[in-house]
Amino acid sequence: MAAEIGQFALIMALCAALIQGVFPFLGALRRDEGLAAIGRSAALAQGMLIAIAFAGLMVSHAISDFTVVNVVENSHSAKPFAYKLSGVWGNHEGSMLLWALILAGYGAAVAIAGYHQSKSYLTSNALAVQGLVAAAFIAFILFTSNPFARSFPAPADGLDLNPLLQDPGLAIHPPFLYLGYVGFSITFAYAIAGLLQKRVDADWAKTVRPWALAAWVFLTVGIALGSWWAYYELGWGGFWAWDPVENASFMPWLAGTAFLHSVRVVEKRGALKVWTVLLAILAFSLSLIGTFLVRSGVLTSVHAFAVDPARGVFILGILAAVIGGSLTLFAFRAGMLKSEAAFDPVSREGAILLNNVFLVTACGTVFIGTFYPLFVDVVSGERLSVGPPFFNATFLPLMALMLALLAPGAALAWKRAELKASVMRLWPALLAGAAAAVLAAWMTWPKPIAAAFGAGLAIWVVGATLMDVAMRTKSFSLPARDVFARAAGLPRSYVGMTIAHLGIAIVALGVLGAGVWRTESVALMHKGDSIQFGVYTARLIDVEELNGANYVAERAKFAIEKRGRPLGDMAAERRYYPVRGMQTTEAAIRTTIAGDLYLTLGEQASQGAWAVRAYYNPLVLWLWVGAGILAIGGIVAASESSVRAGKRIPAPKGVKAAGAA
């Protein structure tokens, strides 16, 4: 029953999306506000209908209704309840429905928050663009990936969820990624609406920025969660593999980050309009390509759980229409967007443009690295893969340059600035950075010196960013009370930016620690044997067999010592899931602020001997902490926009909350 209700709601949602996609345009053409407002109602209706459809699929999974194919293929009666629910989006059909749900949710949020801005038709046109995108995706679900298809006769039990995907980290990371990906549909929709009306100005920027920030915060959290999941679940001790699916989420993040910086220039100075609009199109296009990568068979990886060319062709059609259509509009309309002010190369605008060049170039290298194998296959039929060495050689130097220029750039004045004076003022931070680099080189010798240089850059960013705050609050000349008063008066956007810049420096430290300064040891261990990694020793005490809910496992217990001083036990597992015939490793991880101890149990190589890998990953905790700080910076910056918008326009109840969502 739930499946039929869901199916019906989904069909109705398609109708609502089409109405949402057509009437606002008609209204704008005929200058009829009433007609344009239909889009708003349709967006709210579409949101509710998709929510009903999604709830229908949730219920089918929750009660293990094996008359639904999707439940049969992706669930099992023995599966823990929480994973039955997360199984809803652990498969292709369900994840596409989640995508549509989030798309409709954003549309409804815009319909609520943008109500009072609809006079200029900007928001109603944006809703229409969003409605068309939603219609395409709902049609894709209905025609190629129906999650409500019935199975007859119903089998006695389901086929289980991939045990690798049966994990709290993975259960929550796709929703966050999608909230990020799909959030860029709003910036995209506003960019198209702006092009249609030939109007991209400070108001436009103020309207778009909170949405872009929301999408960016979700994407940041989603990527961090995905990386964290890979770190503790896949059991290879790493946090980032430059896997095509990881890259797919990283590219829109880079483009979105560039957009967040350049949209500030549009808002403050009325410049970089064409470029900012292009970035909005790019960020959403890359989000779509991210979906495309995972859903079609163009590139395969561990994550690709839907390999089906028919779906790929449909998605390719959506991509061609959305990206091709928007770029065509861009080609004809962007020339009509006039810059309101010129700026000196040495200025905040100039620094932001430079930041954009770095971010977009970085995005381009990731794109090339991800798609190069596909191009080669098309040209010569050869199969190859581009590994981490390519990305490390191209991406990391760009990031190093960006870190080097980040702090002085952020401290420059708008319009025209004095570079030398700005940098000279920051000399204590430069000194701290140099000292940190020397210290890091000494501590980590003989690891690569470039990493020590990177650590110096991170400390330079932290120091210079904090110094800028100190100077703005006159911390060195005023009494404490006045300093706090000034600090409280700093604009939220500045506070958010500062927090985010500190976050990125901390992420950089985590990357260096876990990526370069790690120690790895491998050994074939019998009971009683010891393995040395860094200053730590792990002794294998025992390996026992145990039964879990839907798996059997071998659990190895290790006694850990640091320079001979006992630190207690750690336990690593290897699990076998009989229903899927799959094995997973559950690494033993002990997290400290200085670094992680990470042990994995390999196969039993011969009687009574196990392959054991032991890693010491310095500073890896700071990777996730830094990502969290980045996200907090985004939230703080977004809160300013809604506070200001609230001041400018008297808003009804509930608007502020929706604007910050």
Binding site: V307, G324, F375
Partner: protein
């Protein structure tokens, strides 16, 4: 000039889109072996538990043979097995088995239970030889010609269709090739 710059993103997209469209027609599961048309790597595997003879690369000299990678832990191998039994019973081709990462006599017990289609079975408990062969998973089947070169690799179970349409014609062709070069 400005118009041209504004057209650049669209142009780039059209070019990339073309590549996507072509790429979409390719089968992502196709992983060609780098060893195709290369000589079979040298190996000399011990017998599995309860068998007298092992399996060495030299054993195949002058024969057109299938090398089938299997393991008692491999579920798809159970599906493939009846087909291998049928080929062994009815066709004139040597089938050698590589018991992959299957310690403690698992492979021997498995063959006892399901029947043994292999003329030769080698115990690759450490998976060394599988690495040399570039095995990506089990089951996997290599076709070797009379001169000891790998001519084809099939990934996944041999279904009746795969045997009928791909492997059998290839095996027959290789036999004729061998005859011709001998004569």
């Amino acid at each position: 000039m400005k118009r041209l710059i504004l057209l650049a993103p669209l142009t780039l997209f059209v070019v990339l889109g073309g590549y996507f469209a072509i790429g979409l027609t390719r089968d992502p599961a196709r992983i060609p072996s780098v060893l195709i048309d290369r000589p079979l790597p040298e190996f000399d595997l011990p017998p599995i538990e309860g068998f007298e003879k092992g399996f060495a690369s030299d054993d195949l000299r002058g024969e057109v043979a299938l090398i089938n990678v299997f393991g008692s832990w491999c579920e798809s191998c159970v599906i493939e097995h009846p087909m291998l039994m049928e080929i062994a019973a009815n066709e004139d081709v040597l089938i050698a088995g590589l018991d992959w990462k299957d310690p403690n006599g698992g492979g021997a017990r498995w063959l006892e239970k399901n029947g043994n289609p292999y003329a030769l079975v080698g115990d690759d408990a450490q998976g060394r030889t599988a690495i040399d062969l570039g095995v990506t998973g089990a089951p996997e089947t290599f076709v070797v010609d009379r001169s000891g070169r790998i001519r084809y690799k099939h990934i996944g179970p041999i279904t009746p269709q795969v045997w009928r349409e791909t492997l059998k014609p290839l095996v027959e062709k290789l036999k004729e090739e061998g005859e011709a070069s001998r004569g």
